[in-house]
């Protein structure tokens, strides 16, 4: 597979993943663009992998977790709507609830958020999340456990107890 083929067929999925991760389409675009610039320069190696997309997603996660300070310049999300009190475009309760949940997702630490996105958007197992995030499975469960508690999410199947984990960002 060439880089162009990869970008042509998988970029949309990577962008959706990055948008779920960041909660911000513009930021996701920056993130993916930044990663793809590096990917394109190293495609000879990355293209040889069994599943290049997994590696690219891992790079997206790494980039997301490592951004700091000036990378975080942008953007007061929904600033105008928040500040001017503009009505929501969809008054349905479900929509409003999702907006509220999305706003609360944004308040999670990036590691917690990453763990949630990998588990509940991507459907990864704890082992797969641990591999992507570079930590242990118990640490992953710790992130998920705390994130779910913060969001007041009741699971269909309760999580097992989790060990504490270190936050570096």
């Amino acid at each position: 597979m060439t880089f162009d083929e990869f970008a042509g067929t998988r970029l949309r999925a990577v962008l959706r993943f990055a948008t779920a991760l960041t909660g911000d389409p513009d930021l996701a675009k920056d993130l993916v663009q930044e990663v793809l610039i590096r990917v394109s320069g190293r495609w000879q190696q990355i293209g040889q992998l069994d599943w290049p997309e997994a590696y690219v997603r891992k790079m997206v996660v790494n980039e997301y977790l490592s951004w700091r300070r000036r990378s975080w310049r942008l953007i007061p999300w929904g600033m105008s709507d928040h500040l001017t009190g503009n009505p929501s475009p969809d008054p349905a309760d479900g929509y409003i609830e999702r907006q509220a949940l999305m706003a609360e997702l944004a308040k999670l630490s990036r590691r917690q958020r990453t763990a949630l996105v990998l588990r509940y958007y991507e459907g990864y197992s704890d082992a797969e999340i641990a591999e992507v995030m570079g930590c242990t499975q118990s640490t992953v469960r710790g992130h998920v456990f705390r994130a779910l508690a913060a969001l007041r999410i009741e699971l269909d199947q309760p999580l097992t107890a989790a060990s504490p984990c270190k936050e570096t960002h």
Binding site: A7, L11, R12, L15, R16, T19, A20, T22, G23, D24, P25, D26, L27, A28, K29, D30, Q33, E34, L36, I37, R38, S40, G41, R42, L65, S66, R68, R69, R70, S71, W72, R73, I75, P76, W77, G78, M79, S80, H82, L83, E97, R98, L101, M102, A103, L105, A106, K107, S109, R113, L116, Y120, Y121, G134, L148, R152, I153, E154, D156, T168
Partner: protein, 432 residues
């Protein structure tokens, strides 16, 4: 478990729906692809890097070529365990966290919160502009932040009493930025009559348009009048401008460390600036001069040398000394990732009048620096107190397994960690 008075619990399906809804907002793949093609095209056609010719009339200091190193005098010890720490030279520091939940005053000696600055930042998705902080001396501090209910980012002023209490918190007259612009750097003149702002543009649905270069805005704190400087264009197409640091030499000279990039695409955040496509210069501009001019019209004080990265540079309040944070050497880490930051950090002082190096006051090996090559990443900050003699170093260039961050103040060549250690509160801006 539901606490009385709180919202009812949500289900796993609610969470999946919210995440899916966020993902549906993904930008167009074509936008990214076209930006990528432009970046690739630029890389293929650009000549090898070459240093720009120095301006003849200006004093040009090429740091990195002749820096005196006083090995005996300046140590390089990393912050370690709880050895007896020296007495903090400044009793309190003001800090914010990245989540912008609080702006607090902490005891430098203990790290304990002694006061909370009464600003209520707007909620965001977690990527809200980190507020900027600066000290104006005599216990006066300035803070830039978006606040709930106010569309433009505002500058606020407050004072810290000797006991660390916050008084006189108020919005500064004329301290509102234009919509779409936000503060990334702040510096206060010695007599407090002016504030310099490094402002950046954030495109959004209400602020449309392509990425723009930063601007330097000088605000008269008495009248609220604004004057604006643009970056200008260096030779060889370095025309995308970022403000890296601001400092005042007295009241009449503003030292602007600008970073110019020559690989910029029109998409938000799409600077795409590699190590070889970036230049930095420290320029002194006259804040009394007419606005609308270029930073490059100011006197050249310092220029980034080949194979270095000039991250920060501050002028002392009397204008006699420049303190620069410089990276040299190799980019360490994953060879599959093309970082831009050399791994050897040093803080060096240079005479602003003679151009002679005065010494290296701190050195640090940053370890793996390959993980960040971000378009706007400048994760190293040098913060001076009002006297210019006490420095905080903050930052770190690291990725997922990050253990090389640092946040401390300099004491005779060593970095004393600011408490609490470990970025437990995800500090985003500091001042003291």
């Amino acid at each position: 478990m539901e606490v009385p008075g709180t919202a009812p619990a949500r289900t796993e399906a609610d969470l999946r729906a919210a995440l899916a809804e966020q993902a549906r907002r993904a930008p167009s793949a074509e936008d990214v692809l076209s930006a990528l093609r432009q970046a690739g095209s630029r890389r293929r056609h650009q000549p090898a890097w070459a240093a720009p010719v120095a301006a003849a009339a200006a004093m040009v200091l090429v740091i990195g070529l002749a820096v005196a190193v006083s090995h005996g005098l300046f140590g390089t010890r990393q912050p370690g365990g709880p050895v007896s720490l020296p007495a903090a030279p400044v009793p309190f520091y003001v800090t914010t966290d990245v989540a912008i939940t609080k702006v607090v005053v902490r005891s430098t000696a203990t790290g304990k919160v002694v006061a909370v600055v009464p600003v209520t930042p707007a909620e965001t998705t977690g990527v809200l502009v980190a507020p900027a902080l600066a000290t104006g001396g005599n216990g006066t501090f300035y803070l830039a932040a978006f606040q709930r209910g106010i569309a433009e980012e505002q500058i606020y002023r407050f004072r810290l009493t000797a006991g660390g209490h916050v008084t006189g918190f108020a919005r500064l007259q004329g301290g509102a930025l234009r919509p779409g612009w936000a503060v990334d750097a702040l510096a206060v003149s010695a007599n407090g009559s002016r504030i310099a702002v490094g402002a950046f543009y954030y495109p959004s649905h209400v602020n449309p348009g392509p990425e723009q270069s930063d601007q330097v805005v000088v605000i008269n704190t008495h009248t609220g009048a604004h004057r604006t400087w643009r970056g200008g264009s260096l030779a060889r197409g370095y025309n995308f401008f970022r403000v890296a640091s601001l400092s005042w030499a007295g009241d009449r000279k503003l030292a602007v460390l600008g970073q110019w990039c020559r690989a910029v695409d029109p998409n938000p955040g799409g600077e795409g600036c590699s190590r070889w496509q970036r230049q930095a210069q420290l320029r002194a501009i006259n804040p009394d001069g007419p606005g609308g001019r270029s930073v490059l019209d100011g006197r050249l004080l310092l220029r980034q040398a080949p194979r270095t990265f000039l991250a920060q540079a501050l002028a002392s309040p009397d204008g006699s000394v420049i303190t620069a944070m410089v990276l040299r050497g190799k980019i360490i880490g994953n060879p599959q990732i093309s970082g831009i930051f050399p791994a050897n950090l040093s803080v060096e002082q240079i005479s602003a009048t003679t151009g002679h190096p005065l010494g290296v006051i701190y050195r640090r090996y940053l370890g793996d620096t390959s993980m960040i090559s971000g378009t706007e990443s400048n994760p190293l900050t040098l913060i001076a107190d009002a006297t210019g003699s006490h420095l905080i170093l903050y930052g770190g260039i690291c990725g997922l397994h990050c253990n090389t961050e640092f946040n401390g103040w300099l004491d005779a060549g060593r970095l004393v960690p600011l408490l609490p250690t470990g970025f437990a509160h995800r500090e985003a801006a500091e001042a003291w």
